[in-house]
């Protein structure tokens, strides 16, 4: 729709909030009754309810506009000593049978020798305020249009703006089990992102910025658009550097991406499954002295915050790496029991449908006190990596090896020199963490729970053009 035609959007918000509340108590009662009758010793329901709004603007029109209300229920239970899983989004006559039968089949096939748990704790959990103030749909649409205008206004070479998106979402999570646990929390998020495209002669360059906030009013269209546009314009006429070894500073956003890929190594589940090189390294130095890594679900400004985990275990802050020394794996109830330690409250699910696994929450490298510019001054000559691509392919979470298409710029005498593209930066994450020289002060959580400041990582291999 053209902007002027979208004049009745308040109705959408009304429709969203006016949807009949999820009255699931009857369904859960029936489900637990059938589960008990079928022979389940313990049963648990994990419910999620989601609402979202997304709008995309291009060429000063709202080209996509979507909203939704959905709910889903993940069921699990102990049957014959094994955990069975099933899930549904349909709540029709067949739903209870689908869930109970599916979980029974699942438990019957399961041979996992590790003792499974359903949490029987009913203690109170932290009161957290994870919700913020949304805005009327008109305001959000205007925001998307404004971002595009501001990105183009930044520089005439910004010819287009891709993925120019604004979104808001609410999720409610509830866990109910036959141990009388019944806990819930709500979370909301407002966000925006854009990818301006700059052109100059034969050169095309893109920049990407994203921001998450609780309150919609905390988002600033002009600032976000100008930052993204600057990235694109600054990257124009970029070229590869000659292949070789370079001193490298990895900027906060790229470092966040890298930390995210390798965060799995800190999971006790990975270690117990022989999928982590950190197995057997508790108490050892695995990173430079200046590196401290924290997992803190109780930060209200994080976007992986929660008062309790996917098993209902209360959340707590954990220092995973303290001044380079590996202090603890992240655990859920099952992995903790196997290692003879308490759960760290890191049980997680992707939505309602998956089995419970282990993952970090707000997981970040603690900032140091060095400003970014001072890090460049210390480095003198080298490369700043601003963006890494293709992490799902070019980074091996198990071996720690990475070889990633990267963007950035050269630094000479401590100052930014010229933009760089079409190079790969290669190394090993675990080796690199031992070689960190300086941790910057610029910690950011760009779009979720993983966060990092910029790091001076010493020397890495860079492949670019043939050596001159």
């Amino acid at each position: 729709m053209q902007n002027k035609s979208v004049n009745d959007t308040a109705a959408v918000s009304a429709a969203l909030s006016g949807v009949k509340p999820m009255i699931m108590d009857d369904f859960i009662r029936k489900l637990f009754k059938e589960a008990r009758a079928a022979g389940f010793a313990v049963a648990e329901a994990y419910l999620t309810e989601n609402e979202s709004f997304t709008a995309v603007a291009m060429n000063q029109e709202i080209t996509q506009y979507s909203s939704h209300v959905t709910r889903g229920l993940g069921f699990r239970g102990l049957y014959g000593g094994h955990m069975g899983y099933s899930s549904t989004e349909a709540f029709d006559d067949d739903a209870v049978n689908w869930l109970v039968q599916g979980a029974m089949d699942s438990a019957t096939l399961c041979e996992d020798p590790t003792k499974p748990f359903i949490y029987d704790g009913t203690e109170p959990v932290a009161q957290m305020n994870l919700t913020g103030k949304d805005a009327p749909a008109e305001e959000k649409l205007a925001f998307a249009l404004e971002m595009e205008r501001q990105a183009k206004a930044y520089d005439p070479r910004v010819t287009q703006v891709g993925h120019n998106t604004v979104f808001t979402g609410n999720v409610r999570v509830r866990i109910v089990n036959t141990y009388d646990m019944d806990k819930q929390y709500a979370e909301s998020v407002c966000g925006a992102y854009l990818q301006p495209i700059a052109r100059d002669g034969e050169s095309t360059a893109t920049g990407m910025e994203i921001r998450f906030e609780r309150d919609f009013s905390a988002l600033n269209a002009e600032q976000l658009a100008r930052e993204a546009a600057k990235l694109a314009v600054d990257a124009l006429n970029a070229s590869p550097v000659p292949s070789g070894s370079y001193r490298v500073v990895i900027q906060n956003l790229a470092m966040t991406d890298l930390l995210g890929v390798f965060s799995g190594a800190f999971s006790a589940e990975s270690a117990q499954k022989e999928l982590s090189l950190l197995k057997g390294k508790l108490g050892q130095a695995i990173a430079a002295d200046c590196v401290t890594i924290v997992d803190d679900p109780l930060r209200e400004d994080g976007f992986a915050s929660r008062p309790f985990d996917a098993e209902g275990v209360p959340s707590a802050r954990h220092t995973v790496v303290e001044h380079g020394v590996f202090k603890t794996f992240l655990h859920n109830l099952k992995t903790a029991h196997k290692d003879g330690v308490p759960s760290t409250g890191n049980a997680s699910k992707l939505g309602y449908a998956t089995s419970v696994f282990v993952s970090p929450t707000n997981f970040y490298i603690e900032p140091g006190d060095k400003p970014f510019d001072a890090m460049l001054a210390d480095m003198g000559d080298g490369l700043v990596i601003t963006e890494v691509e293709g992490l799902h392919a070019g980074a091996n979470a198990i071996s720690g090896d990475f070889s990633l298409l990267s963007k950035g710029y050269t630094v000479r005498n401590g100052k930014r020199e010229r933009p760089v593209e079409q190079v790969t930066v290669a190394g090993n994450f675990f080796e690199m963490m031992k070689n960190v020289r300086t941790v910057g002060s610029d910690l950011r959580f760009p779009s979720g729970g993983i966060g990092s400041p910029s790091l001076d990582v010493g020397t890495l291999s860079v492949a670019g053009k043939a050596e001159e």
Binding site: V12, S86, D105, E389
Partner: protein, 460 residues
Amino acid sequence: MKDSLRGVLDAALSTGGDFAEIFLEDNRTHAIQLLGGHVETVNSNRAHGAGIRVFHGLNAVYAYTNDTDPQGLLRCARQAASAVADGGSVQTAPPLVSPQLPAPFVCLQHPSDVAGKRKVEYLRQADAAARAVSAEIEQVSCSLSDSEQEVTIVNSEGLYVEDTRIRLRMACVAIASDGKEKQQGHEAPGALMGYELFADRVDPTQVGRDAAQTAVTMLHAPECPAGVMPVVIDNGFGGVIFHEACGHSLEATSVAFGMSVFCDKLGQKIAADCVTAIDDGTLSNEWGSLRVDDEGMPTNRLVLIENGILNNYMIDKLNAKRMKMPPTGSGRRQSYALAPTSRMRNTYIAAGNDDEAAMIATMGDGLYAKKLGGGSVDPATGIFNFAVSEGYLVKDGKIVSPVRGASLIGKGADILLQIDRVGRDMKMAQGMCGSISGSIPVNVGQPMIRVKQMTVGGRV
């Protein structure tokens, strides 16, 4: 059913929209994971919902819900309609009619007719074969997942289409370790069919063996040297190079908005003469095949590039209006929760005339990429990257050593022109492709090809 859906379409059009569509989905999936030789998890999931889309000129509104009762659909339709406030004339949907469709793909052994124990047996075969390769295989993870997706697609042009898609895929990840380092190998074949997959196309033993062999080979491989060099890419999953370097940039998703390097290039030479590339949704029971796309249109065989000349883009219904070109049966989405857009199906470089052995023998010094991992591309710049999961260093036309940690980068437009050999033995492999309408099954494929010069990322 048809009458009530027609009423929902009318509600969606009630504020002046010029096209409305309902996509109803019920998707039952069953997944088993075998880890370390025992069944680790078994999961049965049922996704269920409807997405309603309204066009207004070149723009689209999308709303979706799990509540597929007539009242729930009406509520969802009104929600979508509320974002369109035209004030002009209001259209209504004609009676819904089921068109003549291509014959459905055959499924001989329906997933629900196969006992869980038998499914586990296939996984055990792969697991045992992987472990038998070497004592250095430390861990093996195998999974099997089947899905039955039932869709009903109706629109205000009077279309009523029902379709069922049954898919099955096995995956095996083997990890080799020497106590200090770990390397992995990965295989994941699948098809749009039931459990006849294991009689017709996939030998679980071979899957396990291949994954383990890669892991062990890479464990003993030195780091790949970085640099610019000729690269030979083997058939099968090697086709991901075309998928990333070119395929995404030929989707209307980028072309319609002038955001692709291949805009306005129809009829022009964009690749070397030896390159013909095809996107085909009709191939018999292939992983990326579809009887109808997610907009209810029968799929087709689309020649994207013929002897180097760009012939076609992949176009969905909405972008077809924007581009003033017909849609190509390429509208796809992960689920009812996402609006469809133009996506690839089974995309491959067609077989050529070059001898595979001679290709390596005459390449001089370079890299032979036997297996590729995944990759990604920025369609605006065409800059792509992908990982080499099993590579070999070639010196003077002879394979001298396996190498690990290599990646390949470049610009799609350049690389297509740099291909100088295309082999005879085309093979496809299965992948999941992620883009704005979610993660969808696709085939990639090619015969062995040679690229004159590519940037190889690795250690200096």
